[in-house]
């Protein structure tokens, strides 16, 4: 099931909330776990068992690590066994076809692997269980003895299918005991509604523009339309993904959990390094914590650090999908980050801030071309169109049509990519009387009504993370 659906909002959510809040405290985790299984099994009725098996596997490994924590050799073996198991499952379901294709192509083999659909959320929950095992091994967190609490950590429906990727230590205590205040519940509900509006009203609508542009052969694109299209995609993926993360956080709050924010106005960055501190923050933290720092991080000189960064960005790209274009996309950012460490950041500090903003946006937009065009020749043609080498001129009627029917939406998207709406809301909230609260509540219910209208008459509501 996905959050941005009628079934979720008008059946699953009210019923789950009802059961959760009438259940006695000792049963609340069980209710939430059972609801999460229903949530996952809906549409994935087979793979729910895979997820349960992964959960049981690392639950057991956690207990074993706890038992043998004094014997480092054994503990290390358990750690490697667990990681091999997790990565093996992820590799089998996500990367087997990709690896086989490449081996076939480069070595002239003819391996064939069964074409299985990718289990939803596998990249997210596998990363969570791995972080748990590593942290138990390191002694950073205590092993979770209660199977239900551990199951809830992995399977909890707000963050199950599209993150944020929560490290176990962040919510270990909340899994055992948490309080929900009325205000916190309302804050969560507001976050949920804003997230829904981002996904349904903003991302889906601008996504229509991108899907039209993407359907046009890139050698027929004018320069203006190519830029318009990739800007549309940049807005689509940001509002889609951050909207989904907001919904996850909002739902978490409604059940008493506090998840980390996953996005912080990434398009307001002045460098690529900064962009990645603001974009998909939980993924960045994961790679920093479990790959970059173990590799030595920045402690062994700039050269070694650059190699570490390259490895991290290769893997980050690969995490996004089993295809070379994602690897290129990741390495592309890695190279810019290395360049910034060597030189660029110092240069950027000397010039006007606007240069940093523009530089970052252009690099990110070009990056999205690699992200979205699965084939490199197509990506190359698209870039040619963006830089005026497609021979179609700057502007035509088609481009004018898309501009004239989307400029207002683009303006709204641009404003919502900055902290302006949040600042405006803060002004409103500061008035501590009923009117301020009522206006804020009215805005939220308005967003909910509009989102409902767009869901009922839904023609375009894709789920973008199926590859992750």
């Amino acid at each position: 099931m996905v959050f941005s659906s009628l079934l979720f909002f008008f059946y699953f959510l009210p019923l789950t909330l009802l059961l959760y809040y009438i259940a006695p405290a000792r049963l609340k985790n069980a209710v939430l776990f059972a609801a999460s299984l229903v949530f996952y099994a809906w549409g994935e009725p087979v793979y729910v068992f895979l997820m349960l098996a992964s959960t049981a596997f690392d639950y057991a490994n956690g207990l074993l690590l706890d038992k043998f924590r004094e014997r480092r050799g054994v503990a290390r073996a358990i750690l490697l066994f667990s990681l091999a198991g997790s990565l093996g499952v992820l590799g089998f379901f996500k990367y087997a076809g990709f690896v086989a294709d490449n081996l076939n192509q480069w070595l002239g083999l003819s391996l064939s692997v069964p074409e299985l659909p990718l289990p939803v959320g596998i990249s997210f929950y596998t990363f969570q269980t791995m972080s748990y095992i590593v942290d138990v091994y390191r002694g950073k967190v205590a092993a979770q003895k209660n199977m239900l609490s551990f199951g809830l950590y992995v399977a909890m429906f707000p963050q199950l299918v599209a993150g944020p990727i929560i490290q176990y230590g962040e919510i270990a205590r909340q899994l055992v005991a948490r309080t929900v205040t009325f205000g916190q519940f309302g804050e969560g509900a507001a976050l949920l509604v804003r997230g829904l509006a981002k996904k349904v009203l903003l991302a889906n609508n601008i996504g229509l523009l991108w899907s039209d542009v993407k359907a046009t052969p890139p050698d027929e694109l004018t320069t203006f339309l190519a830029w318009l299209g990739i800007v549309a995609f940049a807005f689509q993926i940001y509002f889609d993904f951050s909207g989904y993360s907001d919904m996850a956080r909002g739902l978490g709050k409604m059940f008493g959990f506090d998840f980390m924010g996953n996005f912080r106005y990434p398009y307001m960055s002045k460098s690529i390094s900064e962009f990645w501190r603001r974009w998909h923050i939980s993924l960045g933290s994961w790679f920093r914590e479990y790959v970059y720092i173990p590799l030595g991080g920045n402690r062994a000189g700039l050269l070694r650090q650059s190699a570490n960064l390259l490895a991290v960005w290769f893997l980050t790209g690969l995490w996004h999908g089993a295809s070379w274009n994602f690897v290129i996309w990741g390495v592309y950012f890695g190279l810019f980050i290395i360049l910034e460490k060597w030189l660029l950041l110092r240069l950027l500090q000397k010039v006007h801030a606007a240069v940093g903003y523009v530089y970052t946006l252009v690099v990110v937009l070009i990056g999205w071309v690699f992200f979205e065009c699965a084939s490199l020749p197509v990506a190359w043609q698209f870039l040619r169109a963006m830089f005026g080498f497609a021979g179609q001129g700057f502007m035509d009627n088609q481009a004018l049509y898309y501009w004239s029917t989307n400029w207002l939406l683009l303006l709204v998207l641009a404003i919502c990519s900055t902290p302006l709406p949040e600042k405006a809301a803060a002004l409103l909230r500061d008035r501590r009387h009923l009117l301020g609260g009522a206006v804020a509540a009215a805005v939220h219910i308005g967003l909910l009504l509009l989102s409902t209208a767009f869901l009922v008459d839904e023609t375009y509501n894709p789920f973008l993370y199926f590859r992750f």
Binding site: L18, G43, G183, G256, S404, L448, A453, V456, D457
Partner: protein, 388 residues
């Protein structure tokens, strides 16, 4: 775990108010959805609504059940019409002029968007027409591909939208057809009358008037003496017609169309045999349909696989028509010119058309489609022969 109420620091009212509203709204809709009886048909959208799917282990495991339940929930959602209208309002405010493949044009016109077919489509369809001509060489074949409102009334399209795609595709077909095939170009006749109501504003069909002008062009090209407008009494069948584009688009602020019927002043007697339905009639009109939603079905009662129109006039020629629904309003004009007319809709006809043509010894054949159906409908390829 104990639930404790504390005061929200920023604004003490906002959190609780949002919480209450969200719970009341979602819970209220849930209750409404569960209690209200399911609808079976949507008049506005002109389609059957999804009913509660049957449970089976197989459909559960394959995920089919989930998909069907989601469709069911969307179709039976409380106040569905209200939400569909609200969405189209918001999109209009944002300046969107296209929904579900329909343009919101000027002067209250809804126009069907043309998406050019994949390359090779024109060649394949021309080849099918040639193969049919080869199979039945005795037939004089006429091909009429009618440009829809988006080409003829291109000035009604929204700003910057080009209406040339249909004509480009049609001309491609025209170039590919060899000299055995007579191409009937009705664009000039329609374009000359563009100030008149030759297309519906809310439906993808032409009006009876539009069909009439095309008929005159066709008759002249077939060597027949066309009837004039004075030969008919024009009656209004309905003035509350909300057509297919209205249903498809969700644009609700448009004026309805009226459907006009051209009743011949001279008496005609003919019989209509609906072959699949095993039914006879003495009229090409089904006036009951004017009370229903899809009022264009007043012509022939909609589409049928095969029907025969037999007249007791003095005409010698026999006509085979292979067509889409655009023909339905034009056929009545052809009745006095032919002793017999067979009407085949390839989307519903399962027999072999070339065999039908040989056995019944038709003298003429008319292929009549609007450009969009011709581009989209693969059943035309069946003309090349069954089993190929």
């Amino acid at each position: 775990m104990k639930d404790v109420v504390i005061v929200n620091k920023a604004n003490p009212w906002e959190g609780p108010l949002v919480a209450l509203l969200l719970v009341a709204f979602t819970g209220g809709i849930l209750g409404w959805n569960l209690l209200a009886p399911d609808q079976s048909f949507s008049e506005a959208e002109n389609r059957s609504l999804k009913q509660l799917p049957m449970f089976s282990v197989h459909s559960l495991v394959t995920g089919k059940l989930a998909t069907e339940v989601e469709k069911y929930v969307a179709d039976q959602f409380a106040a569905r019409e209200f939400w569909v209208g609200l969405r189209s309002e918001v999109e209009s405010v944002l300046g969107k002029v296209e929904r579900h493949g329909v343009y919101l044009g000027r002067d209250g016109f809804l126009l069907q968007k043309f998406t050019p077919p994949a390359s090779g489509d024109a060649e394949a369809k021309a080849a099918a027409i040639h193969a049919f001509a080869d199979a039945v060489p005795s037939l004089r074949t006429y091909v009429m591909l009618v440009p829809t409102a988006q080409s003829v009334l291109a000035d009604k399209l929204p700003l910057y939208v080009s209406g040339s795609g249909e004509l480009v595709y049609r001309d491609e077909i025209r170039q590919l057809l060899d000299e055995r095939i007579a191409f009937v170009d009705v664009y000039p006749a329609l374009a000359a009358q563009r100030k008149q109501a030759i297309f519906y504003k809310t439906d993808h069909h032409w009006t009876t008037k539009g069909a009439f002008y095309a008929y005159q062009t066709l008759a002249r090209q077939m060597g027949l003496e066309p009837q004039n407008e004075e030969d008919f009494r024009i009656e209004t069948g309905s003035d509350a017609f909300y057509g297919s584009l209205y249903s498809k688009s969700g644009y609700r602020h448009v004026q309805p169309d009226s459907i006009e019927l051209y009743v011949p002043r001279a008496a005609q007697t003919y019989s209509v045999e609906f072959v699949d339905e095993q039914r006879q009639s003495h009229s090409l009109y089904e006036l009951d349909q004017l009370k229903r939603k899809d009022k264009y079905a007043v012509f022939l009662g909609g589409n049928h696989g095969l029907l025969h129109i037999r007249s007791d006039n003095q005409a010698k020629r026999k006509l085979l028509v292979v067509k889409d629904s655009y023909a339905n309003s034009l056929l009545p004009f052809l009745v006095p010119h032919f002793a017999e007319i067979a009407v085949v809709d390839l989307r519903y006809y399962e027999g072999d058309v070339s065999r039908l043509a040989r056995e019944q010894q038709y003298s003429d054949m008319l292929l009549l489609y609007n450009v969009q159906t011709f581009a989209e409908d693969p059943s035309i390829l069946a003309l090349a022969g069954q089993g190929q």
